[in-house]
Amino acid sequence: MLNYTIKRLLEAIPIWVAITLIVFVLMNIIPGDPVAQLMDARSGALDENVMKQIREQWGLNDPLPLQYLHFLQGVVQGDFGTSYQSRSSVTELLIERIPVTLQITVLGLIIAIVIGITVGTIGALKRGSWIDSFVSSFSVSGVSLPSFFLGLILMYLFAVKFRLLPATGYVAGDIRYLILPSLTLALAVSGVIARITRSAMIDILRMDYMTTAISKGMSSGRIIVLHALKNAMPPILTIIGVQMGLLLSGAVITETIYGLPGVGRLMIDAILQRDLPIVQGCVVFVATVFLLVNLLTDIGCRLIDPRIKVES
């Protein structure tokens, strides 16, 4: 297992470097001068001498490959550079924002897993009934509804109409501010999890050993949880891993709608203002999380299902 983990980690490094390179190149070829964005772009008047001085200070006159190498060198030392706009350390900005994103994604993932697995299992057990049809509709709706639309509906219902939860904003330690964003993220993902759970469970329920377990007189709860669900987990875990990426990308929109100071919003603002060090910092963070989650998912699947180990 250790060899496998090390091999996977080593495989991830070139992917990670390629991602940073692609982002660096993209941000440098799209039009939009970061120095102009710092000046008073709204009134549309810039001072070219001052811009020249700032460009020099930021190292923007250096050749692009050199700028990229400086960035990589910094990242290896844990330094993502300094934001053009706020002049704060990007590492510090990320440290401030990561907890918010992690809180809504983790909470969202937990809600999604609970709803998705429960609904999917019920669908499989009640296969062909109207409950099963409801599960299928739930899965399709969850996947099809864009998160900004879902977010606004939830905000309207729970904040404006019933005034149960705050509409927007963030107060550290107050979970009320996290419920609606997490739910928004969770509903889309839970649909996918429910669909996969349902089909995996249907396959398992058809197996001979299930008949054996039933004939041995085991309780249906034990059969479902210990035999069926456990054996249906590898595809479910894989899809949960993939959905983490969806959750992170959904966080960008969700954080914007709910005014949450997370990594997603930091990245969107930075892209609009061409604040390259922040964009790179955010991308490195998201890519790292994504690669790690994929790795953990694969390891989890191997631990749960020894057949994978044998096959590989």
Binding site: I30, P31, G32, D33, A36, Q37, L38, M39, D40, A41, R42, S43, G44, A45, L46, D47, E48, N49, V50, M51, Q53, I54, Q57, W58, S83, Q85, S86, R87, S88, E96, R97, W130, L152, M155, Y156, L157, A159, V160, K161, F162, R163, P166, A167, T168, G169, Y170, V171, A172, T256, I257, Y258, G259, L260, P261, G262, L266, D269, L272, Q273, R274
Partner: protein
């Protein structure tokens, strides 16, 4: 039976949700009822929660960020400049300086500081603090985007290029007197000294905090910095020792909310006390029986326009073509339909809320026949294709361009549009990489500064005159206007220059933005602030708790 009960339950839940969506309980009690219990006497106390719609200021050090809305709406309350510009009355008033005098040749500005002004750390603000703070902005090591605004000061070039260790034009006479000399007269300079980036910052705190000063700023303004959750909210609290008297509000909370619908929902759920309205929301709130009465609106100092790039070859090089385009478009109808009435038709360059506004300027009215004959005269009777660069902005972006395209097509001009984001638009305008572009320009409170920025040939390109408009007579008039010490002469010269600019039509003059704030019934003292409606004087705002 069980199944039917379950279906009934689901149906009932859905019906409750549907019916709740059809009723509107979000409005507060009507203003008529409120008025019965409200008092018009300001009372101290309370918290104002307002929306900061242009995003996080990112850095509250006034030196570090440009004088844009997202920053200044906060820093104007933390820092105290030498003078304050009362945009509602259209005059300068006391700030950190209790008196000021401009020499008869317009070259020297002498300020007497109010001895009662203290920083939030308790130390008295001295003349030396202003010298330090202004030089800090000009210091090339600090790479301040505001440095360019201070180049009128004598000795600034030497200091900014590193050839001098101090700015010779800034002289500290004693603790309460400071003199600032200019290279040549510039009557727009006092406006610069009213902006937050020229306010005093305490040297000892700046040096102690280093880069963190922008995260925990200390100034001498009416409110003290309290806390900041980046990207979420900034909290200021009352400066009880403010020299001009403590503000009424105990606290001001700026909620960073860029999404319009989120602001709407927060306002409806009473999380917000006030917010600036976008074009799409304006008509809805204006027609609302409650909130229609709780709206503050003003023509803002921004002029939306379609600018021609006079550096690029094309039919628009002919003044008759530019005039024809001004005649061809029915701006009033576009304002009523696309912008839902949230703008004032532009007659010229200067918006109606600026000193020197001239509603008698020879302008263009909708006259497609005249447009056709001018095009015919210019040799473009068969039309041509015009490329318009635009953004997605709802008021002066793609929707407006699509509307004006219809009018241009009626006189034979085919329009091709290209939509980019604001950062790309800034780049393209600065580099002259466009034929025509829709944008919004302004923010200056001085008419000569406004006109010079966009039409003086010395500012061609990124400095503001992105149309590359050149007219020697206009340059001459604007130079004379900026150097005279006679205000009425300054206005007459500015109006003469504006008349020539409008005639030359380097822009299609579209509209002046109508800035609108909607507020809850308990918020009192908001003003029609033309510089930017977000720059409310919060020392005048108070909360009537009895209406909450």
């Amino acid at each position: 039976m069980k199944r039917n009960n379950f279906r009934l339950l689901i149906f009932s839940i859905l019906m409750v949700l549907f019916l709740s969506a059809c009723t509107d309980e979000s409005n507060p009690t009507s203003s008529t009822e409120d008025d019965a219990t409200s008092s018009n006497e300001p009372t101290p106390g309370g918290t104002l929660v307002r929306a900061a719609i242009y995003g996080d200021p990112q850095n509250l050090d006034p030196m570090a960020r440009s004088h844009g809305t997202s920053t200044s709406m906060v820093t104007w309350n933390i820092f105290e400049p030498l003078v304050r510009y009362d945009a509602v009355a259209g005059e300068f008033k006391e700030g950190n300086a209790s008196e000021w005098e401009i020499s008869s040749d317009g070259l020297t500005y002498s300020f007497t500081l109010n001895p009662d002004v203290t920083f939030h750390n308790g130390r008295v603000v001295t003349a030396e603090d202003f010298k330090y703070s202004i030089e800090r902005v000009m210091n090339p090591k600090n790479a301040s985007p505001n440095a360019g605004n201070l180049q009128a000061i004598k000795g600034s070039k030497e200091f900014m290029s590193g050839d001098a260790t101090e700015v010779t034009g800034i002289k500290v006479m004693d603790d309460t007197h400071i003199e600032i000399s200019l290279d040549k007269p510039d009557n727009t300079f006092l406006s610069v000294l009213s902006l937050p980036f020229t306010a005093a910052v305490p040297k000892e705190v700046v040096e102690e905090k280093g880069d963190k000063f922008g995260e925990e700023p200390v100034g001498a303004g009416p409110f003290k910095f309290s806390s900041w959750v980046r990207g979420s909210e900034i909290v200021l609290e009352k400066n009880a020792d403010y020299f001009a008297g403590a503000p009424y509000l105990d606290k001001v909370v700026y909620k960073v909310m860029e999404d319009q619908t989120a602001r709407d929902n927060s306002f409806a759920s009473r999380q917000l006390d006030m917010m600036v309205l976008g074009d799409a929301q304006y008509a809805r709130y204006k027609n609302d029986p409650t909130y229609g009465e709780l709206i503050v609106e003003v023509p803002e100092l921004f002029t939306r326009n379609l600018k021609f790039n006079l550096e690029k070859d094309g039919p628009w090089q002919d003044v008759r073509v530019r005039q024809a385009i001004n005649y061809a478009i029915d701006r009033d109808t576009i304002i009523q339909t696309v912008i839902q009435g949230k703008a004032y038709p532009a007659v010229g360059v200067l918006p109606s809320s600026i000193q020197g506004y001239n509603d008698k300027v020879t302008t263009y009215s909708y006259d497609p026949e005249k447009a056709k004959s001018l095009l015919e005269e210019a040799g473009y009777g068969d039309g041509f294709t015009l490329n318009i660069l635009t953004t997605s902005h709802p008021a002066f972006g793609l929707p407006a361009v699509e509307a004006l395209s219809g009018y241009l097509e009626e006189v034979g001009i085919t329009v091709k549009t290209e939509q980019v984001d604001f950062a790309a638009m800034t780049d393209r305008l600065n580099n002259g990489d466009f034929e025509t572009a829709m944008s919004s320009n302004g923010g200056m409170t001085h008419p000569v500064e406004f006109l010079s920025r966009y039409f003086h040939s010395k500012n061609a390109g990124a400095s503001g005159n992105t149309s590359h408009y050149t007219n020697e007579k206009v340059d001459e008039l604007l130079d004379k206007a900026s150097q005279t010490t006679d205000e009425s002469e300054m206005i007459a010269l500015a109006q003469e220059a504006e008349e020539m600019i409008v005639k030359d039509a380097p822009w299609w003059f579209f509209n002046y933005n109508k800035a609108v704030i909607v507020h809850q019934p308990w918020v009192k003292g908001l003003q029609e602030m033309p510089t930017d409606i977000d720059y409310q004087d919060l020392t005048k705002v108070w909360i009537d708790e009895s209406l909450k």
